[in-house]
């Protein structure tokens, strides 16, 4: 068995990304869809640090990208949950099939 290197880590992050994608496709509930999205963002973060560590160890760009992605993910989750709670208040459900107000 070859020692663990960049390809192994990329396979891990790919698997995590597609697990998140599977969840995003099968879930109907907005909160669980948001949770799948968080999994996908985390797999992207793993990619960034892996490339930074194994291919470009002379600078820290990947680490900074991860820090900014985590910040933006936190802001995005807060806004998304505010929207979800507002939707629940108006239509009493957070199922995506029930959110039909913007359909014409």
């Amino acid at each position: 068995m070859t020692p663990v290197g960049l390809p192994h880590i990329l396979l891990l992050s790919t698997a995590l990304f597609f697990i998140g994608m599977f969840g995003f496709f099968t879930r109907r509930n907005l909160i669980t869809m948001l949770m799948s999205l968080e999994l996908m963002l985390n797999s992207v973060n793993i990619n960034f640090v892996a490339f930074n560590k194994y291919l470009y160890p002379q600078n820290l760009s990947g680490v900074f990208f991860v820090i900014f992605i985590i910040t933006i993910a936190a802001a995005e989750a807060a806004v998304a949950i505010a929207i979800i709670i507002n939707l629940f208040r108006s239509s009493d459900s957070i199922d995506v099939t029930d959110a039909e107000e913007m359909k014409f």
């Binding site: 663990v4 597609f18 799948s36 892996a50 470009y56 160890p57 680490v63």
Partner: protein, 173 residues
Amino acid sequence: MDFKDIFFYLIAIYILGTGIMAVSTRKIFRASIWLLFSLIGIAAFYFWLNLEFLAAVQVAVYVGGIVVLIIFSIFLTQKTGNQMAKTGTQQTIFAALASLLGFALTAYLVYQHHFGSNQTQELDASIENIGTQMLNPGDGGFLLPFEAVSMLLLSALIGCIVIAMKIKKEETA
């Protein structure tokens, strides 16, 4: 195969197993707890890469912030004991097929591509180095994105308040 590799495989199995449980369990509160475990596993992976600061940020922001926010919103909107509605079989099959095909394609590309290796020096991700570069306005510094992100956080904060605010009827009239 030394200890470090064994730990990598353990962490990978842990992350993927809890991730699969998080997207497949039908009780929404359990899904959020599985997501919590998966995020802790990713923090462990950052420790495995010797990136202690990132692991700390991961635990503080994701585990301590986002998952708590998600659990709060579950309690505000759901009956947590109930099972979620079952997804249609056709939808599940197609979603699994799309994910598996995508995974196979990407894994094939990763397998085919030969990555050069650059192990001439170690990544210096000490907190001192990260802090110096983060607030450095000169070459290779990240002061401008730092400020931009602070503006984004402020606008997200205001946006959340505006969206979630209850507007009283007599005030709007």
